[in-house]
Symmetry: C3
Subunit: 340 residues, 3 copies
């Protein structure tokens, strides 16, 4: 989207110093500004960049004293940081609002309903008996199986796959390629050493304001529901197995995996490449360091663990410090034994 | 799908105690039953839940003595556990049978054939010269390249991508978003430090009853075939590189990766987030603990390893126990050295 | 594709010994040859296979003395290895050239242009205002958002998802299911412990000759660009977070993750399942061993590190050697303390 500098100034109730007709089409840090980009200057530490930036326009405080000649155009406002935040939100709303209508061909099954102000991209698929709210965006190649419920203003990006019977709240964001509701990984060993699949009859339930990353996978429950609570944010390429329950406002970084039936509390922070074994419980506000392996319950709120298997973060740091010097330690012990 | 309690009882040759017209539409554990759900009571440990469950109906033994008033409806059978298993299978068959026919638009290339009783979802794509068996389900947005062979009763979920020349057995399940046959990761270093792609001309061969998880990737062979044997079950987000061979009835948990040309035996159990380096061989019935790294051959059948790099499981447990106390050990050695 | 042995011989300016009308349709190692396959014999170590191979034809040196009877057909050439390489390239070009034209239905938005000799598969989607070069292959179910730029001869495999505003160079290969430009994982913590998404307004820029693996994810920048430099090769299921910059001719193996704003140099080799924390810088020509965790800057070119957290590769090997024997070391120390 392209705007004139004057249009931006009007939005922000600011004043233009320079060419109001200059056009900007993207946001950039002031030190990385190029023609067509709009930046802001809030922290005076960055003021030197104001005189060298390649940005077409910069939002500045109306109290800022200009000390050298500037080649960029200025938009003077009360509070540049808050103006920039406002702009980000307007940008996001504009992007959202620009998506409305239906591109053909797309598919919608019998008995499915979808609310007002929605977008359905070409080649999107909605099965039978779905209930989809208002303002929902369904991008191309999204697949929504039968009997799925989706709340208002949720965004389903390109190529998301949602299995039948899934329940998704409102204001959720599902990034491209994620899979919600795939078969849980459950097999009954047979006498001959082979495995027989256990039918997976449950579903997945996502609360409101849940964010799922690109190519993340969330398996359905064997019976009952795999649950991700309201406000939780899951990064890319995360694995959430059958019957896992993740609480509210918990953040999970990329490539972490939760094995079957593990339970994670509210307000937890789980770093990247963590593994959680099946059936363990993790207390509220737990912090788990990157690459850790959680092999047993974490019972105390606010615990910070690290390692595989994980234990107290600081204790792990100290153990790792000695680990690096193990050859030296071995040598010291060898000497002691010799001289004994 | 919705059934009356009487219909379920008839299926199971059982008898209704209560309202045969009540409707159930899903299965639930007795302690998690809600209106509309059907549970079973086999282990008498759970009997107290019978008097409090919210389930609409519960399958019980005809020999069970009802000790309190129940608000749920009972279906009395010979053996509740086996009845429930029967029901799960019937459920699965019913789900399968309900998928038949062709949704438009979908694409099928020249000279491709597909057997009876199949399902092809809208926006599914089948290339040229494919041979696809009977009872195969191909969900929306599945991509099947040219010259692919697929056996009977295989299920290809939404958005699965199968590259040309792949061979897939019968009774396989490919979960949503998995990729079969992507280019192997092979590059010839050039004199200037850059890399030139080595053409990947091989394919992927999956046996019968193979299960591939959501968003798992299986690369084609440089020449010849990448192979996953009959009965093997691969979880979500697993990486299988070019020319890997996985034996029969081997189970691989989520986010594990096999590097190029590694060979895994039959009846192995590989836990999650394991890495196997290129060209190593793993004997039959090997068990690999979570997050392990396999850097050399495992020659003895039934070996259980753990760690990165992996070694004997028990030895690793003992080493980890000392690892946690390394700062203490260092202190002990320091003291010995001082007092020497 | 099927060729006669004579056609192959003509391509390679070689001579047929045997049946020139025999047909071959794939390449195989000489020890794995089966009817219909074409092999080559360069290293004389493999000569015994020449007399037993099941391959329909084998490319051999015209100087090779045939010592036993052969049942396969021979194609005699000057240099078998270079002939085989030539053949691989011709094969690849033939595969590429065979993809041309447009399959219906496919979608192209207003004001988008695409160059000559392109392929667009059925159900492929191109948004508005895209600029796509010549000889580009866009497979079925590929999604290309608005304002995307793609250079000449780039291949976009099935189900690739490219978010709006992405810039992709020429001669790139994007394997099936990868996601380019998904929302960066950035959230502002709120006073009540919940998180608010920070609008992600940047994009992704890929240089020329970049290779992206199947189901890999590359997030867009918060502002500015996430960058992967010319010639870099990224394997499957890799995570590249917002504002990451990867240099030129760097190779990254499967399931590795780069956290936000990390910078990786040129000519680096990053093995599989590595994790790199946010904001660190990795010097040119760095080598990182599998499963390592990079938690701080690597400043010296050509460094080889291993471990989580990573340190010098050899030092890590030595520490791991002692780690395995930690129970023994503890016992030695216990003995020394007792006998003191």
């Amino acid at each position: 989207m392209e705007f004139t500098v004057q249009q931006i100034a009007d939005l922000l109730r600011g004043q233009v110093l320079g060419d109001g007709n200059a056009k900007v089409s993207r946001l950039a840090k002031i030190e990385e500004g190029t023609p067509g980009s709009l930046s802001f200057l809030s922290n005076t530490k960055y003021e030197p960049y104001l005189y060298t930036t390649g940005a077409t326009a910069v939002i500045v405080s109306k109290n800022l004293e200009i000390k050298q000649s500037v080649s960029t155009n200025l938009i003077q406002v009360e509070d540049p940081y808050s103006s920039f935040s406002t702009l980000l939100e307007i940008y996001q709303q504009a992007v959202a609002a620009s998506r409305e209508g239906v591109e053909e061909p797309c598919f919608i099954g019998q008995n499915s309903t979808i609310g007002a102000r929605h977008y359905r991209g070409a080649f999107s698929y909605i099965g039978k008996n779905c209930r989809i709210g208002e303002g929902v965006h369904i991008y191309p190649h999204a697949y929504i199986g039968d009997n799925v419920t989706i709340g208002d203003n949720t965004v389903i990006y390109a190529g998301v796959k949602i299995y039948p019977d899934t329940v998704i709240g409102s204001h959720c964001t599902l990034n491209a390629g994620c899979v919600i509701g795939s078969d849980g990984f459950g097999f009954a060993p047979q006498k001959d050493g082979s495995y027989k699949a256990i039918p997976q009859t449950g579903n997945v339930v996502l609360g409101d304001h849940v964010r799922i990353g690109a190519n993340t996978t969330v398996d359905c429950a064997t019976m009952g529901s795999t649950i991700i609570g309201t406000g939780s944010k899951i990064d890319n390429l995360v694995q959430v197995a059958h019957n896992v329950e993740i609480g509210k406002h918990t953040v999970v970084a990329a490539q972490t995996a939760f094995a079957g039936s593990s339970k994670v509390g509210d307000y937890c922070t789980i770093a990247g490449q963590v593994g959680v074994v099946g059936h363990v419980k993790i207390a509220n506000k737990t912090i788990v360091g990157a690459k850790s392996g959680i092999s047993k319950d974490i019972k105390e709120e606010g615990t910070f663990v690290q390692g595989a298997p994980a234990f107290d973060y600081k204790q792990n740091l100290r153990a790792m410090a000695v680990f690096r010097k193990l050859p030296e330690l071995q040598k010291q012990v060898d000497e002691l034994r010799e001289k004994r």
